[in-house]
Symmetry: C2
Subunit: 147 residues, 2 copies
């Protein structure tokens, strides 16, 4: 769950045009509690009768991704998903049960990457770290609890 205002501010500051469909999708994204798929948004948009089409949802997700307001992640299952996030942070811990994600800071990763580069001889341009597990709240739940 993210403040929808941040999306609007960022959209406004960008070269993209501020349109009703984009506002609608941004609000939808802000409402998501955990990671979500494009299909989730399409379905919710239809349920709420927002009148935005599939294509626009995909296109808006691209825009939000370009603005670093949303990041596309790959779940352990291989499915694609998105998470809303703060610009500048680029790694997440994702809860396998509730889907909630949390941004994480560098935490020494930078040094690890540097070490790997040195040892392999690669020039490392980009890296992605994704963590999966159970968030605190979900750990506290009885093992069989379903969402």
């Amino acid at each position: 769950m993210v403040d929808a205002g941040a999306f609007l501010t960022a959209l406004d500051a960008s070269d993209y045009r501020m349109t009703a469909p984009r506002r609608a999708v941004a609000a939808l994204v802000a409402d998501q509690t955990g990671h979500f798929s494009s299909a989730d948004l399409v379905e919710q948009a239809r349920a709420r009768r927002l009148g935005v089409g599939r294509a626009t949802i995909f296109r808006t997700l691209d825009v939000l991704t370009a603005l670093d307001l949303v990041e596309r992640i790959d779940l352990p299952t291989g499915e694609h998903a998105y998470v809303a996030c703060e610009p500048r942070h680029h790694h997440h811990v994702v809860c396998s049960r509730c889907g909630r994600s949390q941004d994480i800071d560098d935490a020494g990763l930078r040094a690890v990457v540097r070490g790997i580069a040195r040892r392999t001889g690669f020039r490392v341009d980009d890296h992605r770290l994704e963590l999966f597990g159970l968030c605190q709240a979900c750990q506290a739940l009885p093992p069989e609890a379903t969402l």
Copy 2:
């Protein structure tokens, strides 16, 4: 490029049946120098007239993945790809130019993950680190060199 024998040994030791199509796909995978897509295999299988169908290639990739002989990775572009790898190693540096990948050891990552778990309160069950850049050989090439 990986020893094809390792695939056969692992297949043999598993509960999966050893069949000609699986041997063929395993050999194909062993021949790949870098990461490869399912489409690559399909095309090569057809070029070599191996007589294995699309479906079997996908199914065999699943088998090899289950045996940890192959790992599915997600390129920065969002495309899916596979890399042959040693069981037990689960991180790679992938060259963006030639596609070659190299397994990397823990390199302090374990400690980073532990730190993140402590700080976020998550119980981290799984993690994935993927590095992208240029391998030594490709760095040495003139910038405009094409594959």
